[in-house]
């Protein structure tokens, strides 16, 4: 028996050693994304239609110094001194940023959204504090990056980057200054070589635009953002892809163009979207006056509705009157047989959830502490764009189309939600327990469905061979809200339709923006 004990001990130890030696490091799906080597450099993208710029020359970029001047040679020497002795950390940042500037800044933005997507904790008297943009570090930190806020942030950053890159491409073609590794063949190209002129640097344009936009959108994390931007631009120098004057010109251009978007954002009415007590009360009394049952918050203590005036925010793809015209007809009356049936359907799903349905609910939940449904669609898009090897300007254009569609979907959806102000299933039938948190705003129409419809429509236009997959994803995202117990079928089906309609405006823009 001693022998047996010994055997068991030995096999236990052997097993344990195997277990311990298992690598527990996790790898993000895009962590080792290949260096971007565009299939087409889109040399004429300076002629594409910008979103806000009146022309690609609205913000002038001075002619670059010639490549035979001592100053340029000094800048090339700066690269060479970096390259002489590369640390592993320097190699790592070159590799990380080489996957694409638009991709990486989109991921950084998603990270900020996830970090800030936290509903404030209540005050002692049961009211709720609101984040204050002029004191972003005080609790509750600014912003509360909820889905409408996030949708708007993704749209502004993407659109600013796109416009700035259209301008950059104009000047690239105009000045036609080659990349340092083409000027001096002793400069190593640590990223794939390209025929695209390097002045102004497209990477610095993207970083500069992001930094400027994020000062407004995430003012509490300036150090982090600035550090990322510096690392990004350093990576381009180390890689031999840009000299310092490429970077400086690009950064200035990016910031200048983004300033135009910052000005628009300050006046787009989002700042007033939270409303006030009088507005919240009026939503309720108006709904009662229509003979319907008004929504109330299922949070405890009751929380003011999320951004009731977000429906009045200025859209990107159409005007505010069009936004209102996209509002669907009313949901089934709370007292109707249809509403009773739809509530019962939700209850039946939630009574005995299957493991498969729970997985669908949680895959698409994108709730508190996540990058929200718009961020999820950005992630889906980004991972599909990587293998298509778009130029940076096409990356930005496609992300801008997607994110403008998502923001405008948020606007139409929120306009609809607060126009009808109808209750969540659990309000009508408290036995409905949910598999994810109940969002703190009215049910009709489903935000997930509207976002997903819009995203699937524009993505299907951009990547047609994935159209059926996008359609299936949008439908699953939409259904997940019924499975989760937080939406009726009407909310989801109509939401998808409205989302598709919004997405069509992005498709229209895509067909006429000159990018083909």
């Amino acid at each position: 028996m001693r022998k047996l004990s010994f055997l068991i001990l030995i096999s236990g130890l052997a097993f344990g050693t195997t277990f311990l030696s298992c690598n527990k490091d996790i790898e993000g799906r895009t962590e080792n994304a290949p260096a971007l080597a565009p299939a087409n450099i889109d040399l004429n993208a300076g002629q594409w239609v910008p979103v806000l710029l009146t022309s690609p020359t609205e913000f002038p970029v001075a002619a670059p110094i010639a490549t035979n001047t001592p100053e340029y040679i000094a800048q090339v020497n700066e690269i060479k001194s970096w390259q002489k002795d590369l640390t592993s950390q320097e190699k790592a940042i070159v590799k990380y940023w080489s996957a694409g500037a638009v991709l990486r800044w989109n991921e950084i933005l998603r990270e900020l959204v996830a970090k800030y997507n936290l509903p404030p904790y209540q005050n002692a008297d049961g009211t709720y504090p609101f984040p204050n943009p002029s004191n972003p570090l005080a609790y509750p930190q600014f912003p509360f990056a909820n889905p409408p806020y996030a949708a708007r942030a993704y749209a502004y950053v993407s659109a600013a980057q796109y416009d700035a890159l259209v301008a950059a491409w104009h000047y690239k073609k105009l000045y036609n200054r080659l990349a340092p590794y083409k000027v001096d063949n002793t400069v190593n190209a640590l990223v794939p070589q390209t025929d695209l002129p390097s002045y102004p640097s497209e990477d610095a344009v993207v970083a500069g635009a992001a930094v400027e936009m994020l000062k407004l959108l995430f003012p509490g994390d300036q150090d982090f953002i600035q550090q990322k931007a510096e690392e990004h631009m350093r990576a381009r120098l180390i890689a031999g892809a840009n000299v310092r004057s490429d970077i400086d010109a690009g950064e200035s251009l990016g910031k200048a163009v983004a300033q135009k978007f910052v000005t628009r954002a300050r006046g787009d009415r989002a700042g007033a979207a939270a409303g006030n007590q009088a507005i919240w009360d009026k939503l309720e009394t108006d709904c009662i006056a229509r003979g319907e049952t008004p929504w109330y918050s299922l949070d405890s203590p009751k929380r003011p509705p999320m951004l009731p005036l977000f429906g009045k925010v200025k859209p990107f793809l159409f005007d505010s009157l069009t936004a209102i015209s996209l509002r669907p007809g009313p949901p089934p009356s709370v007292n109707s047989q249809q509403m009773r049936d739809e509530t019962e359907e939700v209850y039946q799903f939630i009574k005995n959830p299957t493991r498969e349905r729970i997985a669908i609910v949680h895959f698409w939940a994108d709730g508190v502490g996540t990058y929200t449904p718009p961020g999820h669609w950005d992630a889906i898009a980004a991972e599909d764009f990587i293998p298509q090897r778009f130029s940076e300007v096409r990356w930005a254009r496609n992300m801008a189309l997607l994110n403008m569609a998502l923001m405008d979907a948020a606007i139409v959806c929120w306009e609809t939600k607060y126009y009808y102000f109808n209750p969540r299933p659990t309000q009508l039938k408290p036995e409905i327990k949910t598999l994810t948190g109940i969002p703190n705003f009215p049910a009709y129409i489903s935000g997930h469905s509207t976002f997903s419809g819009a995203a699937a429509t524009i993505l299907s236009h951009l990547t047609p061979n994935r159209a059926s997959a996008y359609d299936a994803m949008a439908k699953e995202a939409s259904l997940s809200r019924i499975y989760g117990g937080i939406h009726y079928r009407s909310d989801c089906e109509v939401g998808l339709e409205v989302g598709n309609n919004v997405g069509q405006f992005a498709v229209q823009r895509a067909m006429t923006d000159g990018a083909g």
Binding site: M1, D25, P119, D299, P353, A379, I432
Partner: protein, 312 residues
């Protein structure tokens, strides 16, 4: 009668501490009691645990959207004496969770199967003093595809754990003191989402689960029919992150807890195959954990196989 003394000794605990504290405190792999050779003991243990306050990071709070979070479990446990000094134990619980307020749906399902080997490799008896030293190794692994990422209503964390424990036991007459230290290696888990934020954005469904350590000191009376012990247990997660303000908990949080408790076992004099267990424990300090009070009770039945080893 001598054999009865060592009956039913050494049932196990299968549940590790997590956000819903479920640490069972019966006669377990955590104690110094051994079954004799060819004895097989098995039974069911019921556990009820609940909390209405929890630690969000280090901040203690309640949550009106959860109310009281409770979990119940019924665990089948078995212990077999391969030799007097080597026992094998196994257990598997079914768990139900519930929140008394708010709208979140409770979950239920079969949780983790655990198997332990407990080896007493040193025995020293001098007069009324006895010292024993044990090496214990165990593994627990999910026995269903339950949801880990729905804390605090998940029934478990879904990692496969490897546990290695050293334990020393001192007995003077009927009085005992037992101390143990455990290292828990936890496998990564996969969740239903394709990304999550811990201290940065992770674009993967895989979650790195930090390893953990557990320490326990127990002391009390070890009689022929009655066992009564008080214990203090500390579970420390070696890594992980704090729940941020008003955020949801996550499986890889730094979950720590210190719990005090008591365990009792009584063997029927008239029918020594049958014994009853009862116990409870209360969380006195924690981090990213509920402040739980847990109570348990169970009944166990022993069989004898083969020839009993002649008694000295």
């Amino acid at each position: 009668m001598k054999k009865n003394k060592s009956l039913y000794r050494g049932l196990l605990q299968g549940m590790v501490a997590f956000f819903i504290t479920l640490t069972a405190s019966a006669q377990t792999d955590m104690d110094a009691i051994m079954m004799n050779r060819n004895q097989f003991c098995n039974g069911f243990l019921y556990n009820y645990s609940s909390w209405d306050h929890y630690w969000e990071g280090t901040l203690k709070r309640n949550n009106e959207n959860l109310g009281t979070v409770s979990s119940q479990s019924v665990m089948y446990m078995a212990n077999y004496g391969i030799t007097d000094d080597l026992n094998i134990m196994a257990g598997i619980p079914y768990v139900w969770t519930k929140a008394s307020a708010g709208t979140l749906h409770g979950l239920n399902g079969i949780q983790d199967l655990s198997v332990f080997a407990k080896w007493r490799f040193l025995k020293k008896n001098t007069g009324k003093h006895r010292l024993s030293v044990f090496g214990i190794a165990g593994i627990s692994t999910p026995s269903s595809d339950y949801v880990a990422d729905f804390l605090p209503l998940s029934i478990g964390l879904h990692s496969t754990n490897l546990m290695v424990r050293g334990m020393a036991d001192y007995q003077y007459k009927r009085f005992t003191v037992t101390g143990s230290a455990t290292y828990v290696v936890r496998s990564n888990i996969t969740i239903d989402r394709s990304s999550y934020y811990d201290t940065e954005l992770r674009l993967t469904n895989e979650v790195n689960m930090p390893n953990a350590a557990q320490y326990q000191l127990r002391t009390g009376y070890r009689g022929r029919y009655l066992l009564a012990e008080a214990h203090i247990t500390n579970w420390t997660t070696l890594g992980g992150f704090d729940i941020t303000r008003n955020n949801m908990p996550f499986p890889s949080n730094r979950m720590n807890a210190t719990q005090v408790g008591a365990s009792f076992k009584y063997t029927l004099k008239s029918h020594t195959n049958l014994s009853f267990l009862a116990g409870g424990q209360y969380t006195i300090a924690g981090r990213n954990m509920g402040q739980s009070l847990a109570l348990n009770g169970g009944a166990f039945y022993a069989f004898y196989f083969g020839k009993q080893k002649p008694k000295k």
